[in-house]
Symmetry: none
Subunit: 303 residues, 2 copies
DNA sequence: GGCTATTGTATATCATTCGTATAATTTCAA
DNA sequence: TTGAAATTATACGAATGATATACAATAGCC
């Protein structure tokens, strides 16, 4: 597909970036930002480079830089790509791991997990072994005595394992930064860690905040960390105010796309959409692809 | 690599630091703290260096220094830190790590930590870099907006790092199994992780349960995991009932020695002894040696 | 107790910033 | 040819910022 000399009219640029034509012209007139080619009759003609430029401008204003100072403060940014997955002799492994957890036997637990990793890609193991195992354990843990200890034990193990892979296994990529945190009240980090792993494998750069992060902390962190997106993980039903008050407030408060993953994203898809956020679902692979697509495509302005 | 030359207006600085614009202007007018650039029309323009500066100011006022004397305090502290003369590589590393945490820059964070590990032994790095850094961050985090996010970020990073060392770095030993958990209500795992690391290095086999574990779960876990000792970490003051009701109950409920580590072990040594447990203190090395000695000796039943 | 210095906050007034609106004219495409 | 859309220019207004002055709470001091 040859896209050699793209000549985008201002209307297209506007819909691609979410910035109104009026504003685009005002920026050009007042600050000399973006200077398009002109037709002989004076109509503006933009290219994809201008789209990229506007994105960078939006990233800066989102961090609190006034538009009048953006020109003096322009620097760098870059995009990325992604990856797929799928197969099955997994139930035996799940049984062994579940039994190991019941005995608090880290050695056996690690042995099975590493053996699986030796044969299959990490995304596969996550998808076919860890996630189903977590579901099974979740069911087993309902109100059982010793459940909390088991859960903590496995959580600690998995955090160490996945954390190690995150910090060491993935060569530091150059893709978009994604702030990843659990919703307020959400204490289960599994989903978030698995997402971070998948995201890192797909050349995103997750910034992990972990469990139970208040919403206003997220806004502050996004500013400081200059992230290009926010992902909130929520599996147990969030507090009533979260979907209808805090989430819209988060979307308004930062100008990067906000994604919500986990079971909540399925149970409350409508409310998430109404808040201006994007519901991801429970498949981390799909989630990462959706984020990629969304970041590559026009950034629709909310308000 | 440095942040782009951002020009932040006063409202952004305010939201980043939690200090009202009024107060920021008053500080500038009255004490000459923070002197921002100005636009041609006189509007103030700040950079991230100013954000850092305000953070240091807040750290001082938070410790009780009157704002009127902060300037003098800063100026007297300045020469001490920025003229290291090669004497102490640790404060420089601490500064870099603290700044990286403020930017949520995991790459830089990891870089400094790994560089330190390349030169010094891990216990040394823990003792001279991580522990002082944690103390410093604890002071900085008093009530600051964004503090929770920063703390979660660093906690997640450190858990991954130390967890990785625990899982990979240490060949599975054959020594005694030690159940390691934080006391109920204790959410800081750092101390516990450091202990587990040291314990593994000393040929113990820690079974890590992590933060905030209820006491009766500990009893159940000890049975199932067949551990030879229990270590409870507690740094913030535990709930009133813990020392006098739950801890004795734990000691009675399982027939292995129970150790308590962290600041609580120092502040409430008598109560811990009365409960039939053993107070360890805050030095993980000493703690591990004490446990070894105790396990080697015939198991004297207390009380 | 009364006095005073310190310090965060409030108000009044004016200027600046920046998105949006309007108007008059021109260009494009069906 | 005709209506939608672009152009320039000017203007409006809400939010924000600057300065100066004032006020209130607190702490130290005689």
């Amino acid at each position: 597909m040859p896209a050699p000399a793209e000549r985008l009219p201002i209307r297209t640029l506007s819909s691609l970036t979410g910035v109104s034509p009026l504003t685009l012209r005002a920026w050009e007139r007042r600050y000399g930002l973006i200077q398009p080619l002109r037709t002989p009759k004076g109509h503006r003609l933009y290219t994809h480079q201008h789209v990229e430029l506007i994105r960078r401008v939006l990233a800066l204003t989102g961090r609190g830089v006034p538009i009048g100072q953006v020109r003096a403060a322009l620097e760098s940014a870059e995009p990325a790509t992604d990856a797929p997955g799928g197969a099955d002799p997994w139930t035996g492994r799940m049984d062994r791991m579940a039994a190991a957890i019941a005995r608090f036997d880290e050695r056996e637990l690690d042995h099975v997990y590493e053996a699986a990793l030796a044969v299959h890609a990490v995304e596969h193991v996550t998808q076919r072994l860890l996630l189903p195992l977590l579901e099974r354990l979740g069911a087993r843990w309902q109100g059982l005595p010793g459940a909390i200890a088991e859960e903590h034990f496995f959580a600690t193990y998995l955090r160490s394992k996945l954390g190690a892979r995150l910090v060491h296994g993935v060569p530091h990529a150059e893709g978009a930064r994604v702030l990843a945190a659990c919703a307020p009240g959400e204490h289960h980090e599994f989903g978030l860690l698995l997402f971070a792993l998948e995201a890192a494998a797909a050349r995103l750069r997750p910034v992990l905040l972990g469990a139970d992060v208040p919403v206003d902390e997220l806004v502050a962190a996004q500013r400081r960390a200059t992230c290009d997106a926010i992902v909130v993980s929520s599996s147990v039903d969030p507090a009533p105010g979260f979907l209808h008050r805090e989430l819209p407030q988060l979307v308004r408060g930062c100008c990067v796309p906000v994604f919500v993953g986990g079971a909540t994203a399925i149970r409350h898809r409508a409310a998430i959409g109404a808040a201006g956020a994007v519901a991801l679902g429970t498949d981390v692979g799909d989630g990462v692809r959706l984020i990629h697509a969304r970041l590559a495509r026009p950034q629709t302005r909310k308000r």
